[in-house]
Amino acid sequence: MPESSRNTPKSVDPGRLRLDGDQASTGALLGMRCLDCGISVFGQAVFCQACSSARLEPVDLSRTGTLYSYTIVRVPPEGWPGPVPYVLGEVELPEGPHILAEVIDVAHDALRIGMEVRLALEEVQSGDSGPVFSVYKWAPATESTLGTGEV
């Protein structure tokens, strides 16, 4: 598709994913950290989910985590814009939250509970004319990303 006919990619969910720069391929998962009890949650919060404190600060969450569980989805939900089957991963971040997203760039037989994964942003379009979103996904953490994952 020629560059000129593309929509500008938007964050799939601005409350959970901030895009940095024009490429929409770099950004960060957003969270809130409680200044009183110290827990972090994924996405936006008004009060702390654990202690109800109003003293929350926005944070960028870790870019790497471990695969807590995974499934190969062979019958997708209505509206799924990607190829089928796809791998859905539940990833545990060092701060605590579990985040569900597609796992890409991995052979099915290479998937292991406990494997380290890194944040990967991909542009996704529904059909030929639908809006283009930048979507957060997980990819296996390579040797080169293992050491630089934490921000």
Binding site: Q49, V73, R74, P81, G82
Partner: protein, 384 residues
Amino acid sequence: MFQFKPGREVVVVGVGLHPFGRFRGKDLASLAREAVVEALKDCAVKWRDIQVAYFGHVYYHGMSVGETALASLGLTGIPIINVENACSSGSTAFWQAYWGITTGMFDVALAFGAEKVPGGPVTVTAADSPDRYIGGDHMMAGYALRMRRYMEETGAPASALAQVTVKARQNAALNPYAHRKDTFTVEDVLNSRPIADPLTLYQCCPTSEGSAAAVLCAREALGRYGLDESRAIRVVAAALTSGNYNGRGSDHSAFSPYRTEPAAVQAYEMSGLGPEDVDLVQVHDAATIGELQQVEALQLFPKGEAWRATVEGRTALTGDLPVNTDGGLLAMGHPFGATGIRMVHETITQLRGEAGPRQVSNARVGMAQCSGAGDVTTVQIFAR
């Protein structure tokens, strides 16, 4: 933690069911009404004595379906409340009916639920939600994530999970109201179409249509309404919870059985009973893994041991703790709004000793647990 104090003793006097399955020519209100009529007949309560009605359903079929369903029984002017609480909508309606009576607000209440669930994978969010692009909003994929983790942590083989379906189908084969009555072997279950590995089709509940209803009354008021105590069953606990913080956040918790534990603790506290007193249980087995994790969360089996109990036949009709005696969601079917009250129907039927070929012997205490998206959990305990 549990701050509510039950007041008057509440009993279930009547239950009714419409078969679960597919009924293309029947609208939701008609479907719902048929179970209500069965429940009214079951206890010979007069319609004009029903003082409040709660109707559980999820999918939109126009406004105020509860009122529409009941209009042809008579316009008595009672409050009728439409309840949406995901797969726990029916059991939430029951919870409201219970609390309306125990607090003294009403003597006689109706809880009913009905659904016509569309086919295909069930999602929680609206069709234009960003979650559809992220890929995590897929009910059975959520169960599959739990299942793989459970198998890794406990060493449960795939055949143990398949046995949950084998048992469910055996129970449903004895139940004329069930959506799925044909029986399977473990191999049949494992070889059925993969949905979200390791979950196969026969390990997922069908999307069903159907309805269920229950009539509740204050025990002390039975005589006032000419109701017979001989078939009445006591409600000794009715708990309803939403999510408690578990360290993982809400993105995960929609699929997590951790939320059942606080509701179970409340129910045991309310009833003064413990897991050792429970003779049979209905739990939310939308997928095979659901049954195993829910009976563990209810403290009926030690963590990680329910798969072994299943393989040993302990959860079968002839076992020491029969689970999902009518076939459960897996085989009885899952019309969301009806499911929680269907569990009440089965429990009452068993405790009355009226379950026919699937009757559990010496059933005195029965439990029902229902889960819904958004971290809803209900737990009820009934006693003869």
